[in-house]
């Protein structure tokens, strides 16, 4: 018996499976919490209260109730839709969002896979979402969905460039692509964080990365793929029930993923801001998650403040503003390092 | 310009067109012209320097009963800030009035509305479709002798 247990525990695939599921332990409560938080933040910014009834205290269980409702809803597939593509699209989007968590270091002691091309891997898998979005938009056989999907594709592909360039500035300083190592380089007090190094170039790079990541996860002011006042709901127009929930879920998962990457690259990841104070693997999780949530909150804050850009302006921002500035940062950081 | 002068001017230009002109004893002074002259009068009063009626405020179709329909043009001049009420009367069985929608773009939709609800046909209208009622509706509801149909496409109308 013990032997069998030992065999199972020694089995690599079992360990991989466990490691694969562990992020879900964070992601599922996080997504439910983040949706609730977004409602609350938006409500209080607009002098409202937001959900107050479900579950008692400030409607804390509203999103759980919503999820249960979405689970029970009829799964409608439009008659004219391409059924296979329509069905797999949400999963592809979710997988691409979730796969990024494999290399995100939650603390010094926990990382799914400490591969030496971690950041490169994240950039690669998150761009897979484009495939899912295009698939969903095309398969819905709805003109609004199609327009939304086309917009999303153009947007995500073009915003990858400034975001990668901004990341490159950090990678140049760190000299590594491994996220865990990048974290180790920022240990100590908060002025060791990369965002405060080579000031202001890395700081500008952070702004560029943050703006570009907003576009990559389709948040305001770059939410034009699902612009509800123009395209009804963009590529999710025809989705309902659990498939819609998958899109929603993927969006929030993605929001945290890009925030986590930003926290890792620019804000020291799991490092405590105060040197040795409250540091260690357990507190590391706390610091990492709070930094990530901080950035998620800023994303929400922006969403409830700003209007939406137009398609051509979106392209303008990417190609004529962010990309040149990102290049300038990379070059400036390079020169600084040569000095 | 007073209404009297405006009416005089139109009379001078189109002696045959003016049927009646009233400036006193009514709430709003009006001038009634023969239907076939509407487009000519309209383009004259718009382009004439002194009149300059460039703003069509309202165009209404009216069922006078007794077998006549009417169209009323309430026109205003942005330049000179004076008004003119133009009336036209046509028999119901031959309710045709020249369109003025190329003279004032406002008239485009108003004439469509008058056609839709009153059944007045505007000759030369660029887009003579119904506007408020469904495209396959029968009859013109604002006529005084209009009877509500019982069914519209199999649906009971007075539900």
């Amino acid at each position: 018996m013990e032997q069998i247990l030992r065999n199972i525990l020694d089995n690599d695939f079992f360990v991989y499976g466990i490691m694969g599921i562990v992020p879900l332990v964070w992601i599922v409560p996080y997504a439910l919490f983040a949706i609730w938080l977004e409602r609350k933040i938006s409500a209080h910014m607009q002098d409202r209260l937001g959900p107050m009834r479900t579950g008692g205290w400030h409607g804390w269980s509203q999103t759980i109730a919503d999820m249960l409702k979405l689970l029970q809803k009829e799964d409608i597939i439009p008659a004219a839709a391409d059924k296979t593509l329509f069905n797999i699209a949400p999963y592809i989007i979710f997988v691409s969002a979730y796969a990024a968590y494999a290399v995100i270091p939650f603390s010094s002691g926990f990382i799914g896979a400490d591969i030496n091309v971690g950041i490169f891997y994240i950039i690669a898998v998150t761009s897979l979402a484009v495939v899912g979005i295009l698939m969903g938009g095309w398969a819905s056989n709805n003109k609004w969905s199609l327009l939304g999907a086309m917009r999303a594709t153009a947007q995500i592909v073009s915003y990858e460039i400034p975001s990668v360039l901004a990341v490159l500035a950090v990678v140049m300083i760190a000299g590594t692509l491994s996220l865990q190592e990048i974290n180790n380089l920022q240990t100590g007090w908060f002025w060791n964080w990369f965002v405060f190094q080579k000031f202001p170039f890395v700081f500008v790079a952070f702004i560029i990365y943050f703006v570009a990541s907003l576009a990559e996860v389709n948040r305001v002011p770059f939410d034009i793929p699902e612009a509800e006042s123009e395209l009804v709901a963009g590529y999710v127009t025809e989705y309902s029930g659990m498939k819609f929930a998958m899109f929603m879920f993927a969006e929030f998962v993605n929001m945290f993923a890009v925030s986590a990457v930003a926290a890792t690259l620019f804000f020291g990841g799991w490092n405590s801001p105060f040197g040795e104070f409250l540091s260690g693997p357990i507190w590391g999780v706390f610091w990492f998650l709070s930094k990530g949530m901080m950035l998620v909150s800023v994303q929400m804050w922006l969403r409830w403040t700003l209007p939406r850009l137009r398609v051509d302006q979106l392209m303008y921002v990417s190609w004529k503003v962010l990309t040149p500035w990102a290049f300038a940062c990379v070059i400036a950081v390079g020169f600084w390092m040569m000095l | 310009m007073t209404s009297q002068e405006i009416h005089e001017k139109i009379k001078l230009q189109f002696p045959a067109a003016v049927l009646e002109s009233k400036t006193e004893g009514v709430v709003d002074p009006f001038i009634k012209i023969a239907p076939e002259y509407v487009a000519d009068v309209a383009s004259f009063i718009r382009d004439n320097e002194e009149l300059g009626f460039d703003f069509l405020m309202c165009l209404s179709g009216i069922d006078y009963g007794k077998g006549t329909l009417g169209v009323i043009y309430n026109i205003f001049s942005m330049k000179h800030r004076h008004k003119l009420n133009l009336k036209v009367e046509v028999p119901k069985d031959k309710a045709e009035v020249p369109s003025v929608s190329l003279i004032w773009n406002t008239a485009n939709w108003h004439e469509r509305e008058a056609y839709d609800l009153m059944g007045i046909i505007f000759i030369g209208h660029p887009d003579p479709r119904r506007i408020l009622m469904p495209y396959d509706w029968e009859g013109h509801p604002l006529r005084k002798d209009y009877k509500t149909p019982e069914f519209y496409q199999g649906m009971k109308v007075p539900y």
């Binding site: 409500a43 910014m45 107050m52 922006l302 409830w304 | -």
Partner: protein, 195 residues
């Protein structure tokens, strides 16, 4: 051209920061939401909601029915007999008609207040009750008549009888004008009192 580019970037960032300051400030402004079923706002005195008819005061003058632009009020009246005492309204007016039907289809009502204005005894009025949704549309047809069905029947029958008698009387009187007078006093019983 280049200058405009930088000015645009500056303006964008600056206006975004201003906007963010405003929305952040509003996080600390108390919410204006009213938690409706728990907290109910006090309606002003003139609130126009559900109609109510005080049948004790109604004299069946049909003014409100005439004033209604959507015909949601339906009233039927029957003449009372000269010997009936229907009482008086609170304004002291003598009631002369049996109101046998006073229906308001509140689903049709447009809450315009036009029926309240002409009422001579101020018996129809708008109240501040606004929670009256129903699952069945028929429940929104309100009957305000205080007479029971039976009473309505009797009243109607009596009125018809009286009418007939009056007609007979008239005929008789007409005949009498020609011939000898014959008087036939009508037998009457007091009408059922509305409960």
């Amino acid at each position: 051209m280049m200058r405009k580019y930088f000015i645009d970037i500056y303006k964008t960032i600056w206006s975004i920061l201003i906007g963010m300051r405003i929305t952040f400030g509003h996080l600390f402004v108390p919410a204006v939401t009213i938690q409706y079923p728990d907290v109910k706002p006090k309606l002003p005195e003139r609130a126009r909601n559900r109609l109510y008819v005080n049948m004790d005061d109604c004299i069946g003058c049909l003014q409100c029915e005439m004033a209604c632009p959507v015909n949601c009020i339906e009233i039927e009246t029957v003449k009372s007999l000269p010997t009936d005492d229907l009482g008086t309204t609170s304004t002291g007016q003598k009631k002369k008609l049996w109101v046998t039907k006073f229906d308001i289809d509140i689903a049709k009502c447009c809450f315009c207040d036009l029926c309240v204005y002409p009422c001579p005894t101020e018996c129809i009025k708008m109240t501040d009750v606004y929670e009256f949704s129903e699952f069945d549309r028929n429940n929104l047809l309100y009957n305000f008549v205080t007479l029971t069905k039976q009473e309505v029947e009797t009243v109607k029958a009596k009125a018809a009888e009286f009418e007939k008698e009056q007609a007979a009387k008239k005929a008789a009187a007409a005949a009498q004008a020609k011939a000898a007078p014959v008087v036939a006093p009508a037998q009457q019983s007091p009408p059922a009192q509305p409960s």
